[in-house]
């Protein structure tokens, strides 16, 4: 008799019913983790985008190196390295360690989103600002940035969805989010396939919900864009 890892539809249904309270709880952790990491990642990302756009070469080199390193190494390596690294600097819970690691990861991609959005704003906008006597920083803050922010919204929404999926790797540093919960259930019941398919469904649901939200935000912005 083969037990456990053959996919069995009956088991799938009964497990779906039995496990949903655990997954709902874990789903909330996943959502919190995603929101925290994308928000913090946005703050760090904007910082590095500004460095990358800075007239000072040394700043550009620093930002470029940071972005290259983060985008050139796997997320799981970053999570493990930072999880053990952060604890040296500041005592954080597993949740916040993972959130920060994910935030760092997101920040490199978000930095590129903002840099791209900023550079996509027509040079004439800067020239118009400067020709009115506005300083470089004022032009950036009042003229270029507000336009760049709007342009960054669609790719940021996409990054949010990516961040949601990436948060599954926090499972490996003891954050009880969706995937870790699935691992625990799978190891306990041996309904491996069923459990991973169930957790996949939860992720898919979350991705779809957030896709709808992201699209709604985009459409609203597109409307308010005069």
């Amino acid at each position: 008799m083969i037990v456990g890892s053959v996919f069995d539809f009956g088991t799938f249904i009964s497990e779906l019913q039995r496990t949903y309270p655990f997954f709902i709880e874990a789903g909330l952790v996943t959502i919190q983790l995603t929101i925290a990491s994308v928000l913090i990642g946005t703050v760090i990302g904007i910082l590095f985008a500004l460095l990358k756009l800075s007239p000072l070469k040394i700043f550009r080199i620093i930002a470029g190196t940071y972005i290259t390193i983060i985008r050139g190494t796997p997320l799981i390596v970053q999570i493990f390295a930072l999880f053990y690294g952060f604890s040296q600097i500041i005592m954080l819970s597993a949740f916040w360690s993972a959130a920060l690691a994910l935030a760092v990861h997101n920040s490199a991609y978000i930095a590129e989103i903002f840099r791209g959005a900023t550079q996509s704003i027509d040079k004439g906008q800067t020239e118009a600002g400067r020709s009115l006597g506005m300083s470089g920083i004022m032009t950036m803050r009042r003229i270029v940035m507000p336009q760049a922010m709007r342009r960054a919204v669609p790719p940021l929404g996409n990054q949010f969805i990516i961040g949601l999926k990436d948060s599954s790797l926090a499972a490996f540093v003891a954050v009880d989010e969706l995937f870790r919960t699935a691992q625990g259930i799978a190891a306990g019941t041996l309904n491996t396939m069923e459990t991973f398919i169930i957790v996949g469904i939860y992720y898919l649901l979350l991705v779809m919900i957030f896709t709808v939200i992201v699209n709604a935000v985009e459409q609203r912005m597109a409307k308010s864009e005069k």
Partner: protein
């Protein structure tokens, strides 16, 4: 007749490309000067050097009697006195027409909001856009956009206005309204330097016209003289093509 701006032996290169060659030019208060010449002759670059959007390599730019050195002068203050109107308007798309006009007075001059709004509305009325205060630029025609851009530049109360082909991005039927606005400005005594391909306008409105070729000023004179009796061979050739 007060001298407003004087340029002496101005040179500017982009890399190996020597774009402006020993330019000498004087513009007095209330003068209207048109810059004409073939594409690539350096007209835009000269204009942009005058408000330091490009920094000259060497030569002098003397503004209101004072030589401006980009190293020691606060260029932001200089630029407040030099209004600029661009070919592609460069309105701020995230701000309404009125917000476009009051942005710099509020932010740069720290004018109080009530005054800025009042003056902004007056300017917009002057350029014939009294009904467009709260509209966003994307809702305007090209001619309307350019008139907003003119009002925006005027809001800083500049001593001189620079226009870089202000009508060449416009549909032919919209050119007139912008030229009309500029004519009004000229009549009010605004000092203006205008790069344009509208020879008719130059002839009619400009006191002086300068013909540039290949980074040099080939000929300068009263507009009626330059258009009717060009002295230089090159100028003749150019005029024969464009008139």
């Amino acid at each position: 007749m007060k001298e407003m701006i004087r340029v002496e032996k101005l040179n500017k290169s982009f890399g190996d490309l020597h774009v402006l060659k020993d330019i000498d030019l004087t513009v007095n208060e209330s003068d209207v000067l048109c810059l004409v010449g073939a594409s690539g002759s350096g007209k835009s670059t000269l204009l942009r050097c005058l408000n330091f959007l490009e920094i000259r390599d060497n030569g002098k730019i003397i503004f209101d009697g004072e030589e401006i050195d980009p190293k020691t002068h606060n260029l932001n203050q200089v630029r407040q006195k030099v209004g600029m109107v661009f070919q592609h308007f460069n309105l701020f798309p995230h701000k309404t027409v009125l917000e476009n006009v009051i942005e710099a007075p509020l932010m740069v001059k720290k004018t109080n909001k009530v005054t800025a709004v009042k003056e902004g509305k007056e300017l917009l009325e002057k350029v014939g856009l009294a009904d467009k205060f709260d509209v966003y630029p994307s809702k305007l025609s090209g001619g309307q956009k350019q008139r907003v851009a003119i009002a925006r530049a005027l809001a800083m109360k500049p001593d001189i206005m620079l226009f870089d082909e202000p009508t060449s991005a416009l549909d032919p039927e919209l050119v007139g309204e912008v030229l009309e606005t500029m004519k009004d400005l000229a009549k009010e005594g605004m000092t203006m330097i205008i790069v344009t391909h509208e020879m008719g306008f130059a002839k009619e409105v400009a006191d002086y016209t300068v013909y540039m070729h290949d980074g040099k000023i080939v000929e300068r004179g009263l507009s009626k003289d330059l258009f009717n009796n060009p002295k230089e061979e090159r100028t003749k050739e150019f005029l024969s093509k464009v008139l």
